[in-house]
């Protein structure tokens, strides 16, 4: 059985690397569902990742993110680049269901073999991505996609997880959403490598653009540091998209610059390791407590104030590290 397991694993790795859509789609689904076998495949694929350029697109609901993804994809296809799209929509906190509707705006690329679109639901994950986003991006990377575009769920002010995953982050803003004080708050506006003022034909677009430019100009930038440009687009007509794609290429050249790339790669690797540890350690700790039948009594003790969660957590963490991780 282990022999057979190994050979299937190897064949999935091969199929994904060869760009087999069926195999890749199934693997992505299995990763999204948290199947341990899928993680093992990803281990085999990991050394084939790291080649794709990852572009993050974030912004408020209705800002035009999906339409912009569609327009940017068209432009990248003209340049002969293959594109993977990971589009994230929210899971209902009540039913656990979701409507994933980002494909509606991406019809143009539906039958293009050079484009692979995957819709994911957040499934309770906060921060604008799904828990599986990094895994799915890695599969697209291993498939040989030149560019992977991640469209976050429509976000407010603080869902900035995308910054940990993407090389270049676009923050899409539309005219008429709040005054200039919004632009000096912290959060999402700080993560932009490029600001996109979409729906730029609307009233107030110039004002929005100026507010953002003023905000950018108030930051201190070191010499050689990237200063985020503010670009107007009309994603639905494609207006401004050529300039946007050029600007993305400039930012890419900037971070892939010999002086920056090592630091950048280390930052990414740190995030990747931390994120995975967070998930796996939690799973393992909970799993162990349940296996030993300790969970119920611990929860009772906390609920009835017989014990405090601080002490219990310290105990669990120290125990874990002593017996399982360090030895």
């Amino acid at each position: 059985m282990p022999e057979k397991g190994r050979s299937t694993l190897k064949s999935v790795v091969e199929s994904v690397r060869a760009g087999d859509v069926r195999a890749a789609a199934r693997l992505m689904r299995d990763l999204d569902d948290g199947l341990p076998a899928a993680k093992r495949v990803l281990r085999g694929l990991y050394k084939h990742t790291g080649r794709a350029f990852i572009l993050g697109i974030t912004g408020a609901p209705g800002a035009g993110k999906s339409t912009l993804v569609d327009a940017v994809t068209s432009e990248l296809r003209k340049q002969g680049k293959t594109v993977g799209v990971v589009a994230i929509d929210p899971t209902s906190p009540y039913s656990g269901g979701a409507i994933l509707g980002d494909r509606i705006r991406m019809q143009k690329h539906c039958l293009d073999d050079g484009v692979f679109i995957k819709s994911l639901a957040t499934r309770g994950h906060l921060g604008g991505l799904s828990g599986s986003t990094l895994d799915v991006v890695n599969v697209m990377d291993a498939m040989g996609k030149d560019v992977v575009i991640i469209e976050t769920v429509g976000v407010g002010q603080d869902e900035v997880e995308i910054v940990k995953v993407a090389h270049t982050n676009l923050v899409v803003v539309v005219p008429g959403l709040g005054d200039d004080i919004q632009a000096i708050k912290a959060g999402i506006l700080e993560i932009a490598d490029i600001f996109v003022v979409n729906k730029a034909d609307r009233e107030g677009a110039d004002r929005t653009r100026r507010d953002l430019e003023t905000m950018v100009s108030l930051n201190d930038y070191d010499e050689g540091e990237w200063v985020p440009p503010v670009l107007p687009t009309q994603a639905s007509t494609g207006e401004g998209v050529v300039d946007l794609v050029e600007s993305i290429a400039c930012h890419r050249a900037h971070i892939f610059d010999a002086e920056n790339i090592d630091r950048f790669r280390r930052e990414k690797a740190t995030v990747e390791l931390h994120e995975m540890l967070k998930v796996r350690l939690l799973e393992k700790a909970i799993g162990d407590l349940e296996r030993h039948g300790l969970m119920d009594s611990l929860i009772d003790d906390i609920a009835n104030r017989r014990k405090d969660p601080y002490g219990i957590v310290e105990k669990i963490v120290n125990h874990r590290f002593e017996t399982h991780l360090i030895s």
Binding site: R29, G34, T91, G97, R103, I104, A121, E290
Partner: protein, 149 residues
């Protein structure tokens, strides 16, 4: 927050991997009436399914490509144009070509009773006609569409 309660009651079950059923809802063909499709999508969402809605004016090829990329378990097709006898079997056929035979196809819309047995013979699992309640559709999906192994 509902999950917190569930975890406390049945800790062992919550650790098991639970696959979400993924359903594609599509509108093949040329009619522009998608309110029904959207209502079905919403009802399935409220029943806990992940619904990929592909929008209007889909060709069978577009629907099957989306089903392939999204790895769905079922496809629900809303069709009011009268072209069901052509479009629905064509989608089933394309699914077979792409080796997606395990994907369950169901349809709904203005479809004459006489056509339903023909569609079933051609691999459409179930056809819903006007007057069907949302509950019937949700129950059908729950009972007949399961995540692949």
């Amino acid at each position: 927050m509902a999950t917190a309660t569930a975890t406390r009651k049945k800790p062992a079950a919550s650790r098991k991997i639970e696959r979400k059923v993924r359903i594609l809802i599509g509108k093949p063909g040329l009619d522009g009436h998608d309110r029904g499709a959207k209502i079905i999508a919403r009802a399935l969402r409220d029943a806990g399914f992940e619904v990929i809605y592909t929008g209007l004016h889909q060709t069978p090829e577009m629907i099957v490509t989306a089903a392939l990329q999204e790895d769905v378990d079922g496809i629900g097709l809303s069709i009011l144009s009268g072209a069901h006898n052509h479009l629905l079997p064509r989608i089933v056929e394309l699914l077979k070509e792409k080796k997606l035979d395990d994907v369950v196809v169901f349809g709904g819309g203005i479809i004459p009773d006489d056509d339903i047995p023909k569609l079933k013979r051609k691999g459409v699992d179930r056809v819903f006609t006007p007057g069907t309640t949302l509950k019937e559709i949700v129950d059908y999906v729950r009972e007949n569409i399961h995540p692949r192994a």
